[in-house]
Symmetry: C2
Subunit: 237 residues, 2 copies
């Protein structure tokens, strides 16, 4: 029983972090290079320039997001360590206030009388578990997996590139700029819809709603980029 319960927990957490990283990378990878290419197609005459800009964006975006994710995961770990040290310090210097905080947590969960007193005494009898308890209950923090940073960086970066390949492929083929734009729009909207549906399935929200919303974000971002690039190129000409 215990093993079953704890393995259930683990799949829940690891799965959701991996899915979250893929969603982070692929959402932007499908949207931003697509929107940029569409925007430039409205302002620049050459499909070759659109492709170069798209690939440069894909390189920049995947590295910025991947490395950014790596550093974010690392700093989450550091922040946990420093908050934990602060909590340990407070247990030494403001012991009474911290005992009161343990009591308040249990009161919030409906404990009163003897149950409240024995539970509070038990928690504060061991310094390490007392700190664990306060980290989770007061600050909502759990110790992050130190191996997560690298895995997270690679997942986000590769998902970004995988996403970016879809809208850029038509510009690499032997098509006119307006044909490439049309194919890029069609393929990317389909990919955004499918990705949104999968995302909804994995995150447990409505599949259709997620599909339509994801497609909508891509359409709005690229529509805006298209109009703004047109405007700017008109002003400069």
């Amino acid at each position: 029983m215990y093993r079953a319960v704890s393995s259930h927990r683990e799949t829940h957490f690891t799965g959701s972090e991996m899915v979250r990283d893929i969603v982070i990378g692929m959402s932007d990878g499908l949207t931003v290079p697509f929107a940029l290419a569409a925007g430039l197609s409205g302002a620049v005459a050459s499909g070759h320039v659109v492709l170069i800009a798209g690939i440069a964006e894909m390189a920049a975006g995947s590295i910025a997001m991947g490395l950014g994710g790596y550093l974010a995961a690392r700093s989450e770990h550091e922040s946990y360590v420093s908050e934990r040290a602060r909590e340990e310090g407070e247990i030494d210097t403001k012991r009474d206030a911290e005992i009161l905080e343990v009591r308040e947590v249990f009161q919030k969960y409906g404990l009163t009388g003897d149950a409240l007193e024995t539970a509070t005494s038990a928690i504060i009898s061991n310094r390490r578990t007392w700190v664990d308890f306060m980290m989770k209950e007061e600050l909502g923090l759990e110790e992050p997996d130190p191996k997560r940073a690298l895995r997270s960086a690679l997942t986000i970066g590769l998902a970004y590139i995988a996403g970016g390949i879809v809208p850029l492929t038509p510009y690499a083929l032997n098509l006119t700029l307006s044909q490439a734009l049309t194919w890029s729009v069609v393929l990317t909207l389909i990919a955004l819809f499918a990705f949104g549906a999968l995302k909804g399935r994995f995150t447990g929200s409505s599949v259709w709603k997620s599909a339509v919303q994801t497609m909508f974000v891509g359409a709005v971002a690229s529509g805006a980029a298209f109009l703004i690039a047109r405007l700017v190129s008109g002003m400069g000409a």
Copy 2:
């Protein structure tokens, strides 16, 4: 005393979410338009095209990230609601297993004997607090603030634009392309350094380390974009 403790908690959380959103938006806003502009400068002859591409990227990126942040915050809320419903269902259908899970949580915190029994009985005596307890202890989830989604979207989007203005300004001035690139590199590395230092200060990690790391991410992403854009433009020519 109670008020002091709870206001301390609130500033802690709200502050860190706002800072996190600014960091998310500005990290990418300073990095990606910069890297794209630098990459295109190595591949395209016209500063005007670089500026248009940069502005299109800024529009696409800020909307994609802002709207993405909005939907992420909303789906976090939906996911909380659906996980909560599942947990409520499990309390009804797998009552014994769920009681065992409460016991395991308290055992992990070092409770034994009477303290373990009374604390467990107290938690399971009220269905709502029992679910609260399992959401926090088993799944590490807290009810997200429903007003957060819009605030988060605007913060991320505006931070992205604020970041993107720095590297693009030189391309809007009356400079040669290589002068604009040089100024863009200098200004952006200074801005990344300053932003990294502030980020380190707010998140409680080392100011110098954060400054150097943030500058490093921008430099690597734009260096890679520069080289890849050069390569691609060479192949196509």
